[in-house]
């Protein structure tokens, strides 16, 4: 950490930290995702073989984490835009963060079945 940096903590700082961490994670995923999709130019078999590993239960859990990162980054990004462009944005930044967290929790609950359902059926049988 650079010396002499003063963090003020609370919602403003932690949402900033989470935005950075999720942003970096998504960028690295995107790099890998373009590479795996490029396998469609190699052969259908090569592509299907790699995508088959994405259907395993362990990767399903990682995928749920990716969805969590993307949803937070998207919702908090809209909050950042509101803070920057809406005249009352800075005053309501805390309320907006908790709104973001609320919507995020609802969407993450909704994503459990679509993202993790097939993994659960594989692990526990159906």
């Amino acid at each position: 950490m650079p010396a002499g940096t003063l963090y003020r903590g609370r919602e403003g700082m932690w949402s900033w930290v989470a935005h950075r961490v999720t942003g970096v994670l998504i960028f690295f995923f995107l790099f890998v995702h373009v590479l795996d999709t490029a396998l469609v130019r190699v052969s259908p078999e090569a592509y299907d073989k790699v995508v088959a590993t994405y259907k395993s239960p362990i990767v399903a859990v990682l995928e749920y984490g990716l969805v969590a990162a993307i949803l937070f980054h998207a919702l908090n990004g809209l909050r950042v835009i509101a803070v920057d462009f809406w005249s009352k944005g800075p005053r309501y930044q805390k309320q907006m963060l908790w709104t973001v967290v609320g919507i995020w929790v609802v969407l993450m609950l909704g994503a459990i079945y679509p993202v993790l359902g097939h993994a659960a059926r594989e692990v526990f049988g159906s």
């Binding site: 950490m1 650079p2 950075r20 942003g23 970096v24 998504i26 960028f27 995107l30 790099f31 373009v34 590479l35 999709t37 490029a38 469609v40 130019r41 052969s43 259908p44 592509y47 299907d48 995508v51 994405y54 259907k55 399903a60 995928e63 969805v67 993307i70 949803l71 998207a74 990004g77 809209l78 950042v80 835009i81 920057d84 462009f85 994503a111 679509p114 993202v115 359902g117 097939h118």
Partner: protein, 160 residues
């Protein structure tokens, strides 16, 4: 020891009249960064401002493109289990999804690259470290954008 009398605030000698009056509630202090003829012209332009604006504009578009992409790939029609070469071929048969994926690729890569550039500038303290990390970042970004663009435009469903 100086014989000059100074006020407690260190503004300078007060000779009779007060520096403060109704029209002059506080003494005017010259700006330490006042622009003069000798001030060098800025060579940086407005790059950082355009970068800041790009993050917000591309961000709004990406919310629609990426969340739509997640909905199609991970939620609808059995989620990820349906994805395979045949599924990709079906999607890219339509110019609509080609343009969607192309826009998503370019905007997301540039948005992410600019974000990582900011992170590198913030945490890499040595100039040489910043140079190498950003060189690596820009190389990976250009490579990924070109590769992805090439794949979308040259996709062949009958490749075998």
């Amino acid at each position: 020891m100086s014989t000059t009398e100074t006020t407690a605030s260190g503004i300078g000698p007060v000779e009779g009249a007060s520096l403060y009056d109704v029209d002059n509630p506080a003494p005017v202090i010259e700006s330490p960064r006042k622009r003069t003829n000798k001030t060098p012209k800025s060579t940086r332009g407005n790059f950082e401002m355009y970068g800041w604006l790009f993050m917000r504009l591309s961000g709004i578009v990406l919310v629609v493109l990426v969340l739509g992409h997640l909905l199609i790939q991970l939620v609808l029609d059995g989620g990820v289990t349906k994805v395979g070469f045949a599924f990709v071929a079906g999607r890219w048969a339509s110019p609509w999804w080609q343009v969607w994926d192309l826009a998503m690729l370019w905007l997301a890569m540039l948005h992410g690259a600019n974000g990582l550039r900011t992170v590198i500038n913030d945490y890499a303290e040595q100039a040489s470290t910043r140079l190498w990390l950003k060189g690596l970042l820009y190389t990976a970004t250009v490579f990924t954008i070109l590769l992805g663009t090439l794949v979308i435009f040259t996709f062949d469903p009958n490749i075998r």
